[in-house]
Symmetry: C2
Subunit: 247 residues, 2 copies
């Protein structure tokens, strides 16, 4: 497939490289093509500069957001949450109409340092804001609950025996995205429901950052451990959660 990856950071690089390796035609979208190519190494977990990284991957094209979106069937948003809406806006609504948008971004606010807070949460989410801004695009939120290397190579941890989630309004789009996740090596994909359910995965980041702090490692993920056979006890679960006792 022709896939655009928005974002030149660690997550964008990991996604672009893996999708390229799996035989897709990958275009990385960025704001300023020349600036991205020239950018020096920014540190972090990425040892080389984006320009050097890209030179080593001649099959990956670099283009503006609009060009990348226009020439692709699927767009992956791997920008930082703070700039996600602006980046997608630069791509142009017309270039996203009818396409699947895989949204990996998290609404993290580091303005007060670490740990980050969330700039949208609880009664709204970044996934919903993106869906609302692009109503004719099929937004599927996924992969935002784990580190970049685990997003694309889950089998390196416990043979991939851990969980990822998808949230989105369109069942066919979620099936397509689930297929890509399985190509990556994910074995357990839970469909949480419509796009509003990504409030859950975005808010989970608050636990993710603290678990990372406690473990001193990023290569972890959660596995949703459950019984093989489920009975429908939604109401019972609800009663448990509210603790029932109001006295």
């Amino acid at each position: 497939m022709r896939i655009a990856v928005f974002g030149t950071g660690t997550v964008g690089q990991a996604l672009a490289a893996r999708l390229d390796e799996l035989g897709n035609e990958v275009t990385i979208g960025t704001r300023d093509v020349d600036a991205s190519r020239a950018r020096a190494a920014a540190g972090g977990s990425s040892a080389e500069s984006f320009g050097a990284w890209l030179l080593g991957r001649p099959s990956i094209r670099l283009a503006t957001y609009a060009d990348a979106a226009a020439t692709s069937e699927i767009v992956v948003n791997a920008t930082s949450g703070q700039v996600a809406l602006a980046a997608l806006g630069s791509a142009g609504r017309e270039n996203l109409v009818g396409k699947i948008l895989i949204d990996i971004s998290n609404p993290l606010d580091f303005s007060a340092g670490f740990p980050p807070s969330l700039f949208v949460k609880d009664t709204d989410s970044l996934g919903e804001q993106i869906q609302a801004a692009f109503p004719d695009t099929f937004v599927v939120k996924t992969l935002n609950t784990l580190a970049a290397e685990l997003m694309v190579r889950p089998a390196q941890l416990a043979s991939g025996q851990h969980t990822v989630f998808v949230s989105g309004n369109d069942a066919a789009a979620k099936r397509t995205v689930t297929g890509i996740l399985k190509q990556f090596g994910h074995t357990d994909v839970i469909d949480l429901g419509d796009i509003s359910t990504c409030r859950g995965t975005e808010m989970y980041l608050a636990l993710w950052v603290r678990t990372m702090g406690a473990l001193g490692a990023e290569l972890f993920n959660i596995k949703v451990v459950r019984k093989e056979q489920h009975d429908s006890r939604l109401l019972a679960g609800l009663a448990d959660l509210t603790s029932a006792a109001l006295d």
Copy 2:
């Protein structure tokens, strides 16, 4: 040990029964002892009334919050989040001084229906509010991430191979609570750090309720899957999370 359990709902009953079974002297604390005894079955997952439930457990005492706290070494807060501070206030600060308070409550707000929102989150938490209100008490937040039956009998799911978290400012208090969790059957207890880290487990509830909806079951929990040996890559993890790409 002498342990007070605040709350007569599903969570309070589960905790009280299990702690009693393990040989502790358990007192359930409630606002109005006579009203609690007389209360009819409220439905939910609890088939019998609290009064009938209590009659079947003669070794468990029922008392006011203040009486229960005064006569116990450890207090478990299993009230609903909305009334937690009021219930603890009724107990009296003097009756909680120097004691461990195991806080299981979640700041769930069901005023707009299901799924609930959180009435405190992100830059504060209910656990922190309780610790601030009772500065001479050792608050340990735990067990708030799973259904009542799994809190006290984790081995019924995957032989207990899943994770619970503790957050609290006092290392000795967390060790004592971890000991109780292991008596329950928990095999993997992650110490997230000080009480502010319970922002993570409280916000996880947003994912819990949606996972429960997707599975149609409450008997699930997350296992934090990680490598046996960790390297300290906090900064690398942070870089991944922010997605690095700001263009």
